[in-house]
Structure formats: C-alpha cells, structure tokens
C-alpha cells in the first residue's frame, strides 16, 4: 500500500462504480431505487465519460424518448435524474487495485489513494480509462516524468526550463500562455499553422510569438536527443525538411486515448479486452463484481448506451442481495410506488 492510501480512511458505501459515463450514471439511479448508495471513480476530470471527452457537441439520436441530445446534454439529463440519490464522485483518479476483504466485501484503491469499500463493485468503464496519448518514439518512455511530461502537476516544475510544448488544442495553448513567464525559454510545436484551441488563446500566443517571447515551430516531433533520461533537443519534421530544436523539457498534449488499464489485472474473465458477464445478472466471474456497458461482452451484445441502461437495471437486482442479504426485494414501478416517490423526492 502506498503512503497516500495508508493515510486515507476507507470510505464505506454500498456500490462503487468504476466509470462516470452515461451507463455508470444511470446505474446510480437503478441502485438508488433499491436503496443502494453509490461512489463513482473516473480518470477524467469531469463527469460524462466518452460523452464528455469524445463527443460533447455531437448529436445522439437513439436514446429512448429523447429524439436528439448531445453528449454533454445527455450527461446533464442523467445528472438531473440521479440527483436525489446524491452520488459521490472521485474524479481525476484511476481505479487501480481491487482486493477482496475477509468479510467478502471489496476494497478499491485509486491512483490518488482514495480507498473505497463496498459489497458491490460495478465496472462501467466503457473502452477503459482516458489517458494521455504518449509519444511513440524511441527513448520517450525512459524520459517520462524526467524530461518528458504529458500533464502539468505544478507550474514550479517548469521554472527556468528550456521548454518545448507540443500540440494545437486548448491544453497546449493554455500551458503555453501560463508557463511562458515561468520557463527560461518556451517554444511551441504544432503540425500545422491552424490551431483548434480557443481563438482568444491562439491570438495571445501569436502576440507572444510576434514579441519574440515564444518560438513557434510548424511540424511534427520525429526524434528525441540527449543521453538516457535527459533531453537536449528534438527533431521536428515538416514538408520543408528536418530541424533540430534544442530544449531540456518537453510537454506533449496529443489528446487522450482509451486503454483498459489496471483492471486488466483484477482477475476478471476477459475476452478480447472485454469482460464476460452472466446476462441474467451482469455479474462477472468475481462474486459481487458486476460489469455493464461497452466494456462487457455476451452473445448479441451491442455497444449502445441504451443497452447499458438495461444492463444497469438487471445488475441492481442482484447487487441488492449483496448489500442487503437479509432483506426481501419487491419489484415496484416509479409511477405508482409512494416508497419510490419518497426516494425520488417527489412524494
């Protein structure tokens, strides 16, 4: 156990949901109707999963009874729907370890040391965690965390550095503007002269370039130079040829990609990186660990948000038995049940 985890008091709850995408969010609703409280873990810094990261502005037409909404809109609708159940979110942290406790509950530890304990864990992790896309160049891995970074933890880390920032989106531009006064020297490299970042940031970057405060290179990084973990410069390739740009620190923003991550090592039965489940209960091979949404496979599975919604309803029925083994479960409709109305805050 690492230091952070050792210092953190375990949080006890009924259901820990890995993934705060649409399916994880709707699981809060289905669990809530059955009195189960939920904590959600997501590696993104915001709620919504792929709906937030990949297609916040793209239209979705196949949510039942919602003729059209965007990824962002769907997330908002779901957040409204689950509000009565007061879920707790643990964002910007990856679900790292899953351990079985002696009393048969599960302990989940995140990358930032949050410890969650519950009888039920639900994996609604879609295509995995969003992680920064890393430079696939020789020597990149050895330099990571030393002279090559994919995120800024503390601006002070970059004080006095001869910094090169790569990318054309908001992260690259925001950090160019914020780190320029901190770094000894700052250059920005992007593969084309147009930037997709906010126009205001782009304009401010161009002002710094005009003023000679920032150097702008158009091209793509094709090689890293320096010994071991040190960086002395990079090769930038463009249609005009190759150029060597000296720098001692590289901060690269190539967007996020999805990868299965640590859950691949939790002992779950997988088939082609997808989790196998019992389709009556959506339980995995680990008792009390369920999986729903895009991350699962079964005969006939379709990766649709609506399928994940259905899976979360069935999952909750069996999850209830783990959370409240002595209670009988009665199936009720939200339309008619005053008990459910109370839970929804409409009674």
């Amino acid at each position: 156990m690492n230091d952070v985890a050792a210092r953190t008091e375990p949080i006890r709850t009924d259901m820990v949901i890995v993934g705060a995408g649409p399916v994880g969010l709707f699981a809060v609703f289905e669990a809530g109707l059955l009195n189960m409280k939920c904590h959600l873990v997501d590696n993104l810094d915001r709620i919504g999963g792929q709906c937030a990261e990949l297609y916040p502005d793209k239209p979705i037409y196949d949510i039942p009874a919602v003729p059209v909404c965007t990824g962002e809109g769907l997330t908002e609708l779901l957040m409204n729907q689950i509000r009565p159940f007061e879920p707790t979110f643990h964002l910007s942290q990856q679900a790292e370890r899953l351990e079985r406790l002696e009393d048969r509950r599960w302990r989940l530890v995140t990358s930032t040391g949050t410890v969650l304990e519950a009888p039920v864990v639900v994996i609604a992790a879609g295509a995995g965690s969003f992680v920064p896309r890393r430079l696939p160049l020789p020597g990149a891995e050895a330099r990571e965390g030393r002279s090559l970074f994919y995120a800024v933890r503390k601006m002070e880390d970059f004080r006095g550095k001869d910094l090169l920032i790569a990318g054309g989106g908001d992260s690259a531009l925001d950090w160019t503007l914020n780190l320029q006064p901190v770094a000894r020297r700052l250059a920005l490299v992007h593969r084309r002269p147009d930037f997709r970042a906010a126009p205001d940031s782009v304009a401010r970057m161009h002002e710094l370039v005009e003023a000679g405060e920032v150097a702008l290179h158009i091209g793509q990084i094709s090689g890293l130079h320096g010994s071991d973990a040190e960086l002395e410069g990079v090769t930038i390739k463009s249609p005009q040829g190759e150029a060597l740009v000296p720098c001692d620190t590289l901060l690269a923003f190539y967007g996020l990609k999805m990868e299965l991550g640590p859950l691949a090592g939790w002992g779950l039965e997988l088939e082609k990186d997808l989790i196998k489940v019992d389709t009556a209960t959506f339980e995995t091979n680990l008792p009390g660990v369920f999986a729903i949404g895009d991350i699962i496979t079964y005969p006939g599975k379709l990766k649709l948000i609506l399928s994940g919604f259905h899976e979360s309803a069935l999952m909750s029925q069996k999850a209830f038995k783990y959370c409240f083994p002595d209670q009988k479960l009665v199936f009720r409709y939200t339309t008619s049940s005053t008990d459910l109305h109370k839970k929804l805050g409409v009674a």
């Binding site: 297609y55 793209k58 295509a127 896309r133 054309g168 190539y254 967007g255 990609k257």
Partner: protein, 104 residues
C-alpha cells in the same frame, strides 16, 4: 464486387470486399483488420487514421476542417493522411488503396 486494398502495419496487403455506402473505416473494421476507431466513426477521435495511396488521393472528396482538426490527435501525419471514417466508399473507388497508420 468492388474492393479496397488495405495494407496492414506489417506491410501485408489485404484485398477486401467493399460495400458502397459504407465508410472505408467500416470496411476495414468489418474485415477484422486492426483499426481502433474508438469513437465509432463520428470524427471525434483519430484512431482510424490511414494513408491514402497518392494515386487515389485526388479522387476523394477533400478532408473537412473538422477532419483536419481531429488529425491533430494522430501521429506521423502526412500529406495523404485521412481519417477513414470520413471516406464514404463509392463504386468508382473500386481498388482504393490505403495503409493503416501507426497506432498512437
């Protein structure tokens, strides 16, 4: 039967049946070639990146601004880089040759 020629990352050439109206990404994916296409074809990622054979490039509709922006998230982008989900296959593209770009 129309077809496309897809060259995988090992350099092996695959001649695969191509259905007009499908995107080139879908044709590649349905033939079990390794193309991630994480966003499912809505031009919201760059994981269906291919290089179009230069001889074919001019016969395609040019990339939209949106596609060009998404290519910022691809690696080793070249003049002939395209997102294959944004290339609808047509009868007259019979024989279209593309190479899968490196995974990133």
């Amino acid at each position: 039967m129309a077809e496309i020629v897809a060259i995988d990352r090992e350099g092996e050439e695959h001649r695969i049946e191509a259905t007009p109206g499908w995107s080139v990404m879908e044709i590649i994916r349905e033939n079990d070639l390794p193309i991630e296409a994480a966003c499912g074809g809505c031009c919201a990622c760059a994981t269906c990146h291919v290089y179009v054979d230069p001889e074919w490039l001019a016969r395609l509709e040019p990339a939209s601004d949106e596609e060009d922006r998404m290519l910022d998230e691809a690696y080793q982008v070249q003049e002939n880089s395209r997102l294959s989900c944004q290339i609808p296959f047509r009868e007259d593209l019979d024989g279209l040759k593309v190479t899968l770009a490196p995974e990133f």
